[in-house]
């Protein structure tokens, strides 16, 4: 009796639910198609026109906007700055997050509150982060006074105003805001590693460092790869923080692709050209994501998608 009901309802679920499934998905699909998919298609279309966003869309220019972007030193500089941020993030921010996650992955008093504090900057808006750090780093601000007080006054320079250091300064602020997020992800990954494995390594005579190097980190691999992936995508789309602190300056030294796009599109009303930049940015993210998932994350795709 029970099986009959079960099988009937199961087959019923399979056959009748196409319509029902569609109905359940309709609101999400509609919203998604309208505000996510459609604008991306539109960006591709606008990118082929010379357009200021107001007049009729009739100045077809083919791929001229793309050619212009790919030969504009300012845009190429912006691409380069995004690349620098990606490299710095992977080389410095992620290792810091891994180190802190390893430190916090053992029971000691104060651990919960440390976790709470380290993650807090993640919930602070980039805008607020940008304003506070601009004030902290400006000449005669807290940073300069602090460095002077500990005898390192000569180290200070107005980093955000110097084309040579502005990217490093922004990277520092980015790290301040996001290291806690990666630490939390990695900490969750660490907690998924059975203690027994590490204990077994210790019993076999591995030192703590060897244990970390040869047992913990490889097992943490999937989480590290997710962290790396999110960092790359995030770094490629960097906008708020740069816009509020420097607007891409001084002399374009901290321009990113998104800042460049915003400036050309909304400040100079070159909607067609701005859309071409958006398409390039989109393609870069897409290619990076596909390549990364194809070559690096292959085996932990399931896990990766559930991390978000």
């Amino acid at each position: 009796m029970a099986t009959a009901v079960g099988s009937r309802s199961r087959s019923g679920r399979n056959l009748r639910t196409w319509g029902a499934a569609g109905l359940f998905m309709l609101p999400a699909l509609g919203l998604y198609a309208l505000f996510v998919l459609f604008p991306i298609v539109q960006a591709a279309r606008y990118s082929l026109f010379d357009w200021n966003g107001l007049e009729p869309l009739d100045q077809f220019v083919g791929l001229a906007n793309f050619e212009r972007a790919l030969t504009d030193p300012t845009f190429l500089g912006a691409v380069n700055h995004n690349a620098v941020i990606v490299v710095l993030t992977l080389a410095i921010q992620i290792p810091i997050a891994i180190g802190l996650a390893l430190m916090l992955n053992r029971r000691f008093r104060g651990r919960a509150i440390l976790r709470l504090i380290f993650f807090a900057p993640y919930v602070i808006a980039e805008v607020i982060t940008a304003i506070v750090w601009s004030l902290l780093l400006q000449p005669d601000g807290l940073t300069e006074h602090f460095l002077t007080a500990i005898g390192l006054g000569g180290v200070y320079a107005p980093w955000l105003a110097d084309p040579d250091t502005v990217l490093l300064a922004l990277f520092f602020v980015i790290t301040w805001k996001y290291f806690g997020f990666h630490m939390i992800l990695l900490l969750a990954g660490l907690q998924g590693i059975p203690r027994e494995v590490e204990e077994a390594a210790a019993i076999d005579g591995a030192s703590r460092w060897q244990g970390i190097r040869h047992v913990t980190l490889p097992l943490l691999g999937p989480t590290i790869r997710v962290s790396v992936f999110l960092s790359i995508i995030g770094s490629l789309q960097l906008f708020d923080l740069v816009w509020v602190t420097t607007r891409g300056g001084p002399v374009n030294a901290s321009n990113t692709m998104a800042v460049y796009m915003f400036d050309r599109g909304f400040v100079r009303f070159q909607f067609g050209y701005g859309s071409a930049v958006a398409v390039i940015l989109f393609l870069m993210c897409f290619v990076v994501a596909l390549a990364y998932q194809r070559w690096v994350m292959r085996r932990d795709m399931e896990g990766a998608t559930t991390y978000g």
Partner: protein, 301 residues
Amino acid sequence: MAEPSAAREVVSVVERGAAPRPGARIRVGALAVSVLRYVVLLVVVAIVVVPVAYAVLGGFRDAPQLAADPVGLPDPWVWTNYTDSLTSASFWMQLRNSGIVAGLSTVVVVLFSALAAFVLARREFPGRELAYTVFTLGLLFPATVAILPLLILVRDLGLLDNPLGLALPEAAFGLPLTIIILRPFFRSVPKELEDAAAIDGCGSLGFFFRILLPLSRPALVTVAVLAIVSSWNQFLLPLVMLSDADNWTLPLGVTNFSTQYTTDTARILAYTTLALIPALAFYLVAERQLVGGLTAGSVKG
């Protein structure tokens, strides 16, 4: 806040380590590692806490005090920066606008995602995995990439300077992450429950609203918290969609305030602090859900 207990722990480690016992060399090594760990952690705590403390305390000073010594404590404590902002209409208006937009976008994204995640998790139909993949692809393009056509679209819909013009795109771009978090959760609800409900005459919709959603409350709270935080901090969309200052959200208001009063750092700090408080308060209340949401997959992964 962490210092006292952390310091106590160092002391207790030192006491334990100092107790004479055999194998003292290992103990000394372990002690050094422990101390080093606390030193590193405390430095990081300082780097995280000092900017926030500087903003909060700086708001209680005035421009001459800050100019004379940016490091010191308020002396005397100046309340006018905070009271001026708290009595200004614009601060409350921005707070309200941010709240309305966050509320709208959260309700939409959670409800729509839950409906979609339900069939994506518990029904079999052709094209299901394709639909899921299309949603997950959305993770790759946040609103930044589509911002120019989004403005045109929202303008054509007549939603410029309207909370819906922000809330709907925010909800749309929030769908991927929300569906990704909800699907495994919905899937883990046992089939037997649904069969039992069906026997009792409960259709799909009834099961969804009366059984699945109540059972999934932790996951729903988690995605709601994520949606609120991301809407609350959103900057680019309001920057583009809102021109009338009466409709500004807090991030816009704060940036504008900071460019308007460039010379009065203390006022900026007070306003920034006030804008920061709701987010931090919310974080303290919902930390578990927020962290749980972001790391939910890691246990399964």
